[in-house]
Amino acid sequence: MDLNISGLSHRFGDKVIFDDFSLTLRRGGLYGLTAPSGRGKTTLLRILMGLQVPDAGTLPQGVRYSAVFQMDRLLPGRSAVDQLLFVRGGKREAEACRAFLAELLPEGSLDQPVGELSGGMQRRVAIARALWAESDCILMDEPFTGLDEDTLHKTADFILAKRKDRTLLLSTHQKELLEAYPFEWLTLP
């Protein structure tokens, strides 16, 4: 099912963020969202996830989302494996989950409390979590922040491989580093 957003209007105080904004995300599409900061990239993602109620507009219903937030939002004191198991699965999934993470992170880091990992590694745990969860659409808010160029490419490859046929929308201010990937680029008015 395609995701249709129509007639979206939202304002913060006097500041109009969206005015009768419409957007269609095709099912299985791969979208990159760029816009100068303050144009509502984060707000759009939050509205889609149902974390913010817009002043007006029609939103797709019944969509299961998974997401990477601006901040990593990891459970403190728990391992990378625990972060993934929190959003999907019990003990039986632990092995599959470990293999999944090992494609993106060094094996030795998977059982350490995430607080002991570097910022870039924590970021990748958050990204892996969004891909591991069951969802129809994956939203990522600036997922590549704090990753060096090599890691960024490795992570982008991982995202593309693991999203399978799910719709993916990610916002970024590093479009030029992602030219090699088949993103459809969107921007906000």
Partner: protein, 249 residues
């Protein structure tokens, strides 16, 4: 985490203990009347005489049972009502005056009221419960309110089952508050429980034995009972904190 104790620390601890025992001994010698102020030696002697008696153990067990029962009932009730109050604002508004009253009414009033209404049999249970319940309740509400809102959003977006969110997001937020509340409530439950027993003198209780010591002016025995309460309270606190750590892992 347990600090590693070096021999130097142990020696220092022993010296400090010896210093205060010395002060205690000197004070008792200055007073010069064992009836008023027992020396450390008198106290240990009295305790040694009490230890083999059935009355001693019956009183110890009686008080421990009552205070522990009161404490755990309060822990359970405080958690349940605290969770309900956190979840439903109406419950919070409803119980708020009751809790304020429980916090401000003097312990002595409670003791006397419980004596009048229920007699002395379950006195220590009810008093310990009344003292501990508000502390656990407030810790629960505050702890749950301190939960990271961003993690709750995450759980909502990912449709994480409620039970898992409770255990992995709410519980870790609640734990430090609950731990701190238990630590202070544990000591208070013993102090208030024993005070209640001294006033109500229920059978098979440390409080009753203390009251008898007072009547017979058996000061060394009173000191020995006090020492017993201190040791029991410390052991009980350790046991409960160990239990909390187990569940909190």
């Amino acid at each position: 985490m347990k600090p590693v104790k070096s021999p130097r620390h142990i020696v220092r601890g022993l010296l400090i203990a010896l210093f205060w025992l010395g002060i205690w001994q000197a004070a008792s010698m200055l007073v010069g009347k064992p009836v008023l102020f027992a020396s450390p030696l008198d106290t240990v002697k009295a305790l040694a005489e009490l230890l083999p008696t059935a009355d001693y153990w019956s009183a110890v067990l009686g008080s421990l049972e009552h205070i522990a029962l009161g404490f755990f009932l309060a822990l359970l009730l405080g958690l349940l009502v605290g969770i309900a109050a956190f979840r439903f604002p109406l419950v919070k508004a409803l119980v708020s005056p009751l809790l304020t009253m429980m916090k401000t009414v003097p312990v002595a009033s409670f003791i006397i009221l419980v004596l009048v209404w229920f007699g002395s049999k379950h006195l220590a249970v009810i008093v310990a419960l009344l003292i501990v319940f508000p502390q656990i309740y407030f810790a629960t509400v505050t702890g749950l309110s301190s939960t990271d809102k961003e993690l709750l959003e995450l759980a909502r977006v990912f449709r994480v089952p409620g039970g898992r969110t409770a255990w992995q997001v709410y519980r870790p937020a609640l734990w430090p508050y609950l731990n701190a509340a238990c630590a202070s409530a544990l000591g208070m439950s013993w102090k208030a429980g024993i005070a209640a027993e001294v006033i109500g003198t229920p059978a098979r209780s440390i409080g009753e034995q203390m009251y008898l010591s007072k009547i017979y002016l058996a000061t060394a025995e009173l000191f020995a009972w006090t020492l017993t309460v201190i040791l029991l309270s410390m052991a009980f606190e350790r046991a409960v904190r160990w239990l909390l750590r187990k569940v909190g892992k």
